[in-house]
Symmetry: C2
Amino acid sequence: MTENSAIRTIPRKSLHEELVDRLQMLIITGELQPGSKVPEKDLCAQFGVSRTPMREALKVVASDGLVRLEPNRGAWVAPLTISEVEEVFPILGVLEALSGELACQNITDDEIEAVRALHAQMIKSYEARDLEAYFSVNQKIHRAILKAARNDTLTASCQALSLRMQRARYLANMSDERWAAAVEEHEQIMDYLARRDGKNLARTLLAHMRGKQASVIKWLKSQGGQV
Amino acid sequence: MTENSAIRTIPRKSLHEELVDRLQMLIITGELQPGSKVPEKDLCAQFGVSRTPMREALKVVASDGLVRLEPNRGAWVAPLTISEVEEVFPILGVLEALSGELACQNITDDEIEAVRALHAQMIKSYEARDLEAYFSVNQKIHRAILKAARNDTLTASCQALSLRMQRARYLANMSDERWAAAVEEHEQIMDYLARRDGKNLARTLLAHMRGKQASVIKWLKSQGGQV
DNA sequence: AACTGTAATTTTGAATTCATAATTTAGTCA
DNA sequence: TGACTAAATTATGAATTCAAAATTACAGTT
């Protein structure tokens, strides 16, 4: 039993960094429910660590906005609200637009081909209506563009903000129309990237983000405006 | 001895939050030298706290990029490099541009008048060649615009990135020409804001940031490319 | 004097302990 | 029964302790 359940010590990188990743994942996937209390003690037990590194990790996750610390009352999973979505998506929009412009200045032919391959894969996932696979490849494409932008700070900023929105993407289903529109937008994105047309790529990425925002908000409203 | 030197306990807000602020300040002002080791033990003694909250604060400051944690080797003050400046300023540029657009949509007449007052104060500081005062008011203006944008996430993002650049602004002197140009840009900024001309305000803020970037890089190069 | 290996010391990462604040439970009285 | 108070319990924030890692000091060799 090399691979078993429950308690397992965590090897690679510093304990608190690993815990930051795990906490983020628990929150994004909804295993830790929005608005609920973060069960510090239980999580310590689950991961087999003491409170010290767990609390260090919670401070970091809180500074990214995924949890909220209440003095003497512990940590709470920040709910995803409409107003938060309305705040974050416009920021992500301009950041992704910037990443598009920079990518066009720096991307290599090989990288373009790699993105093209991902794009083809994504289309397949769309045609198979495999949302899971679609999301996964979609993220890879956006990450590839970010990587080509050659700006680690931009990458970090985008990822921190994306995390907060990914909860919605995990839980929300896109409408058929929105999905079709998103795919269409991605065709354009691929096209402008291949031509290294920074201005148009930026414009399209911004519009793409606006589409996502509308879609997420629509879903959030159907959920009663939160989570 | 209610008020004495050295060791003094810290009251308001949680200890680690207060320590985050203090650490940031020590780094921005250069009291903690770029590239040097963060003297954890000494700082604990200086602030009269134990290592636990200090280390929690260091983790948060590290996630903002002001210090770098090396496993088993402690925390080091991140040096300010040319490539970092070249990464951060373009991001700040698009974020401030966005803040300008949003501000124009949301700012009240009273707020415009408040900014106008700050602007006048800044001009006075310029005419008196009081750099200290100039910087201080300048920051207030940018913060007022951010506030008018009604987007707390944007405010937080800008401030986190600004912090990393402020070390340069603290230490660097602007050239006379750059200073004059900056003031001229601020005249335009004031003008477009008063007219609520979002597009032009965004464009001007972006250009303003490019000017700052060039100025900081010029100074950094004169310092041997770092710090 | 420079180099290498080893012991002593210091620093780091994480667990544990401890004081205090918050919450829950139990009990009292109307 | 229900509202209120007080005791007990639990959770939190921070200091302390402890094991492991890194750094420094030092002796012995060339």
